[in-house]
């Protein structure tokens, strides 16, 4: 179990660039494919450190994914990197037809996911990637929370043969997990804090924001179990069912639309195995905009305070149901 202590902040993109550089040096199969965003996503670290392993594909995501598929058939392991929204929405049919159907060994890096994309607004935010990628047969979908998590997820993706989607965030966030002890397994939740009143299940950046929420709730006398869900597909059915049985209420938190992502995946499990009161914290059915990080999180109702409120609401509802 991790502790609720948060360490110094790191940006996922920095960890990503450095980790991929290391993988490209260790593994002759690994190549980095850029959609002309290397300076933003930090894929440029690979070009600086290992230029032979860097392939610039230009501003043409559909072709980039097809080229990756072709490279994969020759025994290479291409890592396709762009903003989440451009990979997932601009080139979706290419992902289905040329990568997922033939189960090729291509890794998709959805950088700049969520709302906080550096004042770029609606066209550059990625709020639907988990939902969309989850529908693709054979696709594994991961959303790590911090530096150690990103590293472990990438190391797994490198070992695994098949298509993987990894969701990353742009801006620095405090670290939660200890690099030396933290592990990652697909389909496994990470217990951050045990608790008996309610379970908060979070993914990606929202796991870090949930740590602060859990502390505030603790002060108000609510004993929260916090589960980090880095693996959206496959999902940890056992941990979700157990949480429902043992705590009787569930809240999910994701920097993503409430439709189809973590909240939906958890709701599917609960509805089929162990229905309990539940609330989803995520972006509602609305278009987003550009703005400062804190203001965006607040306006789109996914900041720490909204997580706290959702947990309090569901605990009250659970109490009333008794």
């Amino acid at each position: 179990m991790a502790t609720l202590q948060l360490g110094p902040a790191t940006a996922m993109r920095d960890v990503f660039g450095q980790t991929l550089l290391e993988l490209s040096r260790k593994d002759p199969r690994v190549y980095a494919l850029d959609g002309d965003l290397g300076t933003s996503t930090k894929l440029d670290v690979v070009e600086s450190g290992n230029p032979e392993k860097f392939l610039q594909m230009g501003i043409a995501e559909q072709n980039m994914i097809g080229v990756a598929a072709g490279l994969a058939t020759t025994g290479l392991q291409p890592w396709v990197c762009s903003f989440a929204t451009f990979i997932v929405k601009r080139a979706l049919d290419q992902i289905f037809v040329t990568v997922a159907q033939p189960r090729l060994d291509v890794k998709f890096i959805g950088a700049y996911s969520g709302l906080l994309t550096g004042l770029t607004g609606k066209t550059h935010q990625g709020l639907e990637d988990l939902a969309i990628m989850r529908t693709i047969p054979h696709m594994m979908v991961f959303a790590p929370a911090d530096a150690a998590d990103v590293r472990k997820v990438m190391e797994f993706a490198n070992r695994y043969h098949g298509p993987v989607y990894i969701r990353l965030a742009r801006d620095p966030l405090p670290n939660l997990f200890d690099e030396r002890t933290h592990g990652f397994e697909p389909g496994k939740a990470v217990l951050v804090r045990d608790g008996g009143d309610v379970t908060l299940i979070a993914t990606g950046t929202q796991t870090i924001r949930s740590v602060e929420a859990v502390k505030r709730l603790e002060e108000r006398g609510i004993d929260v179990r916090l589960l980090h869900m880095p693996s959206i597909k496959p999902i940890d059915v056992q941990a979700i069912v157990q949480a429902a049985e043992q705590t009787g209420a569930v809240v999910t938190a994701e920097e993503h639309t409430i439709y189809g992502g973590l909240g939906s995946a958890v709701a599917e499990v609960l509805a089929e195995h162990r229905p309990v009161p539940m609330l989803r914290v995520g972006v509602k059915d609305r278009n987003s905009e550009s703005g400062p990080n804190d203001a965006l999180l607040k306006k789109y109702e996914i900041d720490t305070e909204h997580i706290v409120q959702a947990v309090e609401t569901i605990v009250r509802r659970k109490g009333n149901a008794r």
Partner: protein, 286 residues
């Protein structure tokens, strides 16, 4: 000159092309569904690739040094399957399973079920990108195989084709040969002067590909010898990818199908099949 491939002469290749057309017509008739005009226009291209040009061995479909083939215009799969069957990848009899549940011969090529297919295709414009990736992969890993890709002229309306063209040129993929089956018709297209007339799907293909930095050849896509000469010429080209714009006739070989867009995907009746087989000189079982 290409290892592992029988060096059939032009006369034999013509005979194989006629057999291919028979299998295409019979298979579509038997399946009661499928495309027919495109498979008949691409026949000589596929026959010359599989029986002369490509270094392949049906017994070793996963040989890492084999030449690669991608049918980007995946809806002509029935022609590819017919040629592959004649070449020995699987029994000709298996063509009867085309389009059926659990068949290895899916309506559009599925590399996960049929050994010998190098890419799954069907959604237009995508196969050429995968072929670019295969050619780039050969360059990166120091392998000498060549990559062959057939695209359609209608397919070339997809923007992805031109994204792929740009990258192939940037990475100087001279181990890539694309052949455009330029049969001048697509499924529906734009109406020309008369009701049955249709406009060419892609204007000035030669100039377009040249502008993207490609080595461009044009030839008669039904002339075996001219196709073989073009392949030879393409292999000599260094530092640039090559495209052969192969001028073809949609529905080639069957008078009532030729140049008629309605036969893009239409199933011949028993009587139409009999007439068609007679026209291609395959009226009697071989």
């Amino acid at each position: 000159m290409r290892s592992g491939t029988p060096q059939a002469n032009a006369k034999e290749l013509e005979r194989i092309a006629a057999q291919t057309r028979r299998l295409v017509l019979e298979t579509i008739h038997h399946a009661g569904a499928g495309h027919i005009g495109g498979p008949l226009s691409v026949t000589e291209i596929l026959v010359t690739l599989y029986f002369r040009e490509m270094s392949i061995d049906p017994q070793r479909p996963r040989d890492p040094d084999r030449d690669r083939f991608v049918l980007s215009k995946g809806h002509s799969a029935v022609a590819l399957y017919s040629v592959m069957a004649l070449r020995g990848y699987f029994p000709v009899e298996e063509l009867k399973t085309f389009d059926k549940l659990d068949s290895r011969l899916q309506a559009h090529p599925d590399m996960t079920v049929l050994p010998g297919l190098d890419m799954s295709t069907g959604s237009l414009g995508q196969g050429i990108s995968a072929a670019v990736g295969m050619a780039l992969g050969a360059k990166l890993t120091g392998r000498t195989y060549r990559v062959y890709c057939v695209i359609g002229d209608g397919e070339s309306q997809e923007g992805q084709v031109w994204e792929a063209a740009d990258i192939a040129s940037k990475y100087r993929l001279d181990n890539l040969l694309v052949i455009m089956d330029h049969n001048r018709l697509q499924q529906y297209g734009w109406r020309g002067d008369g009701e049955k007339q249709r406009l060419d799907p892609v204007r000035s293909p030669k100039e377009r590909w040249q502008a993207f930095g490609w080595h461009v050849l044009e030839t008669d896509g039904h002339d075996i010898n001219k196709l073989l000469e073009s392949y030879d010429e393409a292999r000599q080209m260094k530092g640039k990818p090559t495209i052969i714009i192969a001028h073809t006739v949609k529905g080639k070989g069957v008078s009532f199908m030729e140049n008629n867009y309605v036969w893009h995907a239409k199933v011949p009746t028993a009587e139409e099949l009999r007439l068609a087989l007679a026209e291609i000189g395959q009226g009697v079982e071989v």
